[in-house]
């Protein structure tokens, strides 16, 4: 059985059918790409998958659990974490605290334990610090751990968002344009990091990206979206050589 199973997902904003009859099935461990021209509905699909928007039609199933209509919080607890196209960090917190916020639900102690600094506070905080540093190292952010998140350059902010999402220990990671604003070197490095995350964390990744070098470089399968509808779905090389896909991107 596939890890993520989406059937005939749809949503309308007023008269606009932003996503229509979108179905996708992603296997565990896959690196899957979602592409399409601007305004095609890609981010809207992420918002549907994470409960930011409630779908008007269709179902979402993760690892056999029906997540349709669940809240963002419940969906994260069920195992979907994401990054945002417009970076949404906790900008006044330090880099490491952004990651530790992500660890909150898996490394617990009560508010009273924190206020009274009971032994459990020190134990769990130590574990959190170690885990957070481990995650920051993966993204080469360990040296900036104590800096405020807003002080990081753009590319590093995107990486920090991925680290924070991973901190929630998801089964499925959604990346919305992770390479946006990065130069070719940074993009190449990011590709390696994403692969490494998949291998080391046993992660399944669904990513939206306009950078074709990244898409063709790391995605095993692709879905192409156009005006809210699925245009083509399949192996990366086949999809990218499809004439219809080429016109959707270059024509209009």
């Amino acid at each position: 059985m596939a890890l993520l199973e989406v059937k005939k997902l749809g949503i309308s904003f007023g008269g606009l059918r932003a996503v229509d009859e979108f179905s996708i099935s992603i296997e565990k461990g896959e690196l899957y790409g979602l592409i399409g021209p601007n305004g095609a509905g890609k981010t809207t699909i992420f918002n549907l998958l994470t409960g930011v928007y409630k779908p008007t039609d269709g179902t979402i199933t993760l690892d056999g659990v029906n997540l349709t209509g669940k809240s963002t919080i419940e969906i994260n607890k069920a195992g979907i974490a994401r990054t945002f196209q417009n970076i949404r960090l906790f900008s006044n917190l330090s880099v490491i605290d952004n990651v530790k916020a992500g660890l909150s639900n898996n490394y617990r102690y009560s508010a009273a334990t924190g206020i009274f600094r009971l032994p459990k506070y020190f134990k769990v905080e130590k574990e959190m610090n170690e885990k957070a540093m481990e995650l920051l190292k993966v993204f080469d952010l360990d040296k900036e751990a104590e800096l405020p998140a807003s002080g990081l350059p753009y590319g590093k902010q995107r990486k920090l968002e991925i680290a924070r999402a991973l901190a929630t220990e998801p089964k499925l990671l959604l990346l919305d344009e992770p390479a946006a604003g990065m130069n070719p070197n940074e993009t190449a490095e990011l590709m390696n990091t994403i692969r490494q995350v998949r291998d080391d964390f046993d992660m399944t990744v669904l990513l939206i990206e306009h950078d074709m070098s990244l898409v063709s470089g790391i995605c095993e399968r692709l879905s192409v979206l156009n005006f809210g509808q699925l245009l083509r779905q399949g192996k990366t090389a086949e999809v990218l050589s499809d004439p219809e896909v080429i016109t959707a991107y270059l024509g209009e």
Partner: protein
């Protein structure tokens, strides 16, 4: 010191040191006889307003929600603790036992009200908390100003109309006398106790902020959508924070009521809520240390300036403006931070600048 302190830990320790140093300084002033009566009369209010301001800063600066009802929580704490102390002052004679229980009770009753308000309101997005707390403060003040409570051999009697309505036995005693308030509360508040409670408040707040819960709260403040995306339970964290603000507000009120011969609800009006908010804003939103400093300076100043009555409001306004520029203008803050860092570099050769304001 072998391990380097984290910046947040260092910040809290500096605040503890400043408050302790100020306390020792004042104690020396008082015991050497060089403090005026006016100044001595302000010592407990310094602590009361500092506690009220730092705890409000938790909701305004750390949670990022506007509350205009801090006076309401102080009022509840003041009344419930005073009623308790009046009721038990003949049975529990030691203030060392009675007063801590009274403060705890005042805080808890205020926290219950805070949570009751928070449950419906904090689910909503937008500035509803400001509107509701504003109304809450006024309602509490007016209800308590109309409340009569007396006790006699048959127990407690309540009325919302008049003293006569209570039907007290001749030897019964009044506890709350409507708008005249509560008189006869034991005068348990002292500057020393106020200092201890302020220190405990600061420790609680800093520990809270630098814990898993505080981090979650600040995450919600910085970006609600992202906080939801990592599974943080928004309503729960908001409620905990607002409840803690109400609790500490209640404690401040308890300290206040045990410092007065007569306690009247009319003291806890809208102006007091705004005054405390002014302490928070001018001390720097989110800066615990700033709230304490602003509360003390702005409580002291109007009293000192009484002697030059004509220029009083003028000087007070100038100080407000200067403080505002200091604490809210990033450029000027940066300028002073840089120069302070240079100074520090000369003094201690420590080149790392401490960045205040989170």
């Amino acid at each position: 010191m072998k391990r380097k302190l984290r910046p947040t830990t260092r910040k809290s320790f500096v605040t503890y040191a400043i408050v302790t140093a100020a306390f020792i300084f004042v104690e020396i002033l008082v015991s050497s006889g060089s403090a005026s009566n006016m100044f001595k009369g302000l010592l407990v209010p310094f602590c009361v307003y500092s506690i009220a301001a730092v705890s409000l800063n938790l909701t305004v600066g750390i949670l990022g929600e506007l509350s205009l009802g801090q006076a309401g929580f102080m009022c509840i704490g003041a009344y419930s603790s005073a009623i308790f102390s009046c009721a038990v002052k003949d049975t529990i004679t030691s203030p060392w036992v009675r007063f801590p229980i009274a403060m705890l009770l005042g805080g808890l009753v205020a926290a219950v009200f805070g949570i009751l308000i928070g449950i419906p309101v904090l689910r909503l997005r937008g500035d509803y908390l400001a509107i509701v707390t504003l109304a809450f403060g006024e309602i509490i003040k007016n209800v308590l100003a109309a409340l009569f409570i007396g006790s006699d051999s048959k127990g407690l009697h309540f009325s919302l109309t008049s003293q006569g309505d209570l039907g007290l036995e001749p030897d019964g005693k009044m506890i709350i006398n409507g708008a005249l308030g509560i008189s006869g509360t034991p005068k348990d508040s002292t500057f020393e106790i106020g200092f201890v409670v302020l220190m405990l408040t600061l420790i609680v707040l800093y520990n809270f902020i630098n814990s898993r819960t505080g981090r979650a709260v600040m995450s919600i403040r910085d970006n609600r959508i992202a906080a939801e995306s990592i599974g943080l339970n928004i309503t729960k964290y908001k409620l905990i924070t607002f409840g803690l603000t109400a609790f500490l507000g209640g404690v401040a009120g308890s300290l206040f009521s045990h410092n007065l011969a007569v306690l009247q609800a009319s003291k806890f009006d809208y102006n007091l809520s705004i005054l405390i908010l002014v302490f928070v804003v001018l001390g720097g939103i989110g800066s615990i240390r700033g709230s304490v400093i602003a509360a003390v300076v702005l409580t002291y100043l109007p009293e000192v300036l009484r002697s030059i009555n004509n220029y009083r409001m003028l000087i007070y306004s100038i100080v407000l403006i200067v403080m505002m520029i200091f604490t809210s203008n990033a450029t000027i803050r940066g300028f002073f931070a840089a120069n302070l860092a240079k100074l520090k570099g000369i003094v201690s050769k420590d080149k790392t600048a401490v960045k205040e304001g989170n």
